[in-house]
Symmetry: C2
Subunit: 123 residues, 2 copies
Amino acid sequence: MAVSEWNLSGDEMCPQRLVLEHVTSRWGVLVLIALEERSYRFSELRRAIGKVSEKMLTQTLQTLERDGLVHRDAKPVIPPRVDYSLTDLGREAAGQVRALAAWTEQRMDDVQKARLAYDEARS
Amino acid sequence: MAVSEWNLSGDEMCPQRLVLEHVTSRWGVLVLIALEERSYRFSELRRAIGKVSEKMLTQTLQTLERDGLVHRDAKPVIPPRVDYSLTDLGREAAGQVRALAAWTEQRMDDVQKARLAYDEARS
DNA sequence: CGGTATCCAAAAGGATACTG
DNA sequence: CAGTATCCTTTTGGATACCG
């Protein structure tokens, strides 16, 4: 696919670009990596991730569910209990995201050095 | 690395997370994929990508240059000529990003189906 | 040509209160 | 518990004007 086709046409993005944004979004990345290990309940996931607001976690989970990456299992009990897990498609996505995350971790030293050199050259 | 460590601590993100944001940012993705093919001049790159403003392209290129992913070669001529290319580190990053992009392209049909099913179930 | 600086509109994100 | 609804703040992005 050509570079220019990954861009906006008129006012909207191409659909691929949207999925890419969803899985690489601020909380999307963390949700996918967390759920790759095991399934989580809503509040449990919220604590695991750390500082995400209810609103953003809900929004992120709904987006990923709609894209078919996350499975939502709401048990009809009181108090409510909802379990989230990855679908097969979601596991593929999580693998890709984790690869990218692992790369940044692996090359972080090189990036830090580059930043120091860059800042140095300009001070 | 544990999930919670990929998150914010106090007010700032962990450095890995920042690099991840840079390479997966709206224009960062397109810049990396474009420069993976060949080097570009500023305006040429702008046309190739399509609808990016000067400001955002400049900002994106500076961020990626600072992270050591993009090499900036400013020729001392009039009119000015600046060539952008990938560093070795940048080529690695571009490979990862392209893998993720290729995945979204490959699985787009499944995602579309999931979306239709999701919307259907709620209408 | 390849930027920088400034201003403004739009979108993302968070705090709080409320509900089944 | 797991959300929804509302309001408000912060961030992002683009248009415009100017400079070396």
